[in-house]
Amino acid sequence: MAVERVAAHDRAAFLRRADHRLLRVGALVGLLVLWEALTRVGWIPALFLPSPLGVIRELGEMAASGQLLVHLEASLRRLLLGFAFGAVAGVAVGVVTGFFSRAEAVGQPLIAATFPIPKIALLPLLILWLGLGEPSKVAVIALGVFFPMAINTYAGVREADPLLVRAAVAFGAGRWSVIRKVILPSALPMIFAGLKLGAGTALLLLVAAEMIAADSGIGFLVLHAGNIMDTTKLMVGIVCLSLLGVLSHWLLTRGERLAVPWRHTS
């Protein structure tokens, strides 16, 4: 047998993941630069793809003239109202069906049966019931937010640690105390996950509703700009929508850190 002298070496090195911060920023900036370059060279006509700088310039002009603000305000109002109604109703239904077995027996099949319906398909019905005005748009957004909220809250309630519930009861907590002091805080992370899902759905439904029946809002702006082949304006609308999406996600993440401090303090 040969006598050896071998050093141990780290064979798991390739499993370690670095952050690559520069690469992250670089990818984003690179895409924009490539896009700008392609439009400058003239390979792609501005009608199909306006240049990023052009879109920014247009955005500035529309903001200055107040035109953008009108649409943004209309959209935000619908979004916030629908989101609020849907979230509150969803959390309430989720808690009740998660906690009370009778409510679960009634609610779960109903939710399972209605959840798969694409909510935008209900807009004509909602317009018939509530009219062409704001209520039908708010309602369709609320419906879209309601389902992910109810389902997530229900799951969060069901996942509450039975040991903690028993501990609360051992210290004299009744039904409402248990719900308020154990079930709701346990479900908070799931509720926030639901809010993030709901925010995406709300944005989708907002645009759809505004494209179908509205004369204001970002959705209307995008559709209208498309109809008159003003692609730059169209892109401004899309940029606004993506900013709305990023902003709502950021706000909800911040909100979660504030509301669930025990998960974020080390």
Binding site: A167, A170, G172, K181, W262
Partner: protein, 266 residues
């Protein structure tokens, strides 16, 4: 400070039968009789599967008995609960700080905020938690977490303190320190304690009497008195009284523990 409750706990002919997953009736407890006198420290000891936690849950009002009853007899100042429990897995509310956890039972008792603060402060000091009041459970070590569990239970000033293997989730060194500390606290408060454990040394070191239970069905095999002077200290572990009681108990449960070893997974 309120005068402490002086109550005797009488467990009389207690039986518990439950149905397991295969639909068979399992007798967990069979005709258990025992008493805990005011200011007494009683340990319940038995091999795994003797239903000792079940017994504690019934005494704590978290589970119904099939037969027999648990009585609390004696004088109790208004507003003081019969029992408070210290759980094996701590069962602290992760969304509450140490202080928030200690105040939980006081909230459920309906005490005004100022009194809650005062009482919590007192028991935080007693359990050596000063300086950690604002920490969340996940920021605390196992030993500190269980101090919070003990402070939370003592703060409601129960007639009897129920402890369900409170130190079995801790490492050996921490456990020894916590036992000493618990004895110190008990010397000061003189709250009667019903202490469930499977650790003979722990039971003999701390208790006035050790109730030895048999394996399924759980029956009282013998009540072994511990003749050791108080206040107790580690040095007594070599004394004849300690050794005799330990050997007596091991003699009672050895064959049962062996049977449990073979039959553990069913």
């Amino acid at each position: 400070m309120l005068c402490p409750a002086r109550m005797r706990v009488i467990v009389d002919g207690l039986s518990k039968t439950y149905r397991d997953r295969s639909g068979q009736d399992v007798v967990a407890l069979d005709g258990i009789g025992l008493t805990v006198e005011p200011e007494e420290f009683v340990a319940i000891l038995g091999p795994s599967g003797c239903g000792k936690s079940t017994l504690l849950n019934i005494v704590g009002g978290l589970l119904g008995a099939t037969e027999g009853e648990v009585l609390f007899e004696g004088a109790r100042p208004a507003g003081q609960p019969l029992t408070a429990t210290v759980f094996q897995e701590f069962a602290l509310f992760p969304w509450r700080t140490a202080r928030g956890n200690v105040e939980f039972g006081l909230e459920e008792l309906g005490l005004p905020a100022a009194e809650r603060r005062d009482r919590a402060t007192r028991f935080i000091a007693m359990t050596g938690l000063e300086g950690f009041e604002g920490k969340y459970p996940h920021q605390l070590s196992g030993g500190m977490r269980q101090r919070v569990g003990i402070a939370r239970a003592l703060a409601v000033e129960p007639a009897v303190l129920l402890m369900d293997e409170p130190f079995s989730a801790l490492d050996a060194q921490t456990r020894t320190l916590m036992m000493e500390e618990l004895l110190g606290i008990w010397e000061r408060t003189r709250t009667s304690i019903l202490y469930v454990t499977h650790n003979i040394q722990e039971a003999v070191y701390m208790a006035d009497r050790v109730v030895v239970l048999s394996r399924r069905p759980g029956r009282v095999l013998e009540v072994v008195p511990v003749e050791l002077k108080r206040p107790r200290h580690e040095g007594q572990m070599g004394e004849p009284g300690f050794v005799q009681a330990s050997e007596r108990i091991w003699g009672l449960i050895k064959s049962q523990a062996q049977a449990a070893l073979v039959e553990e997974r069913r």
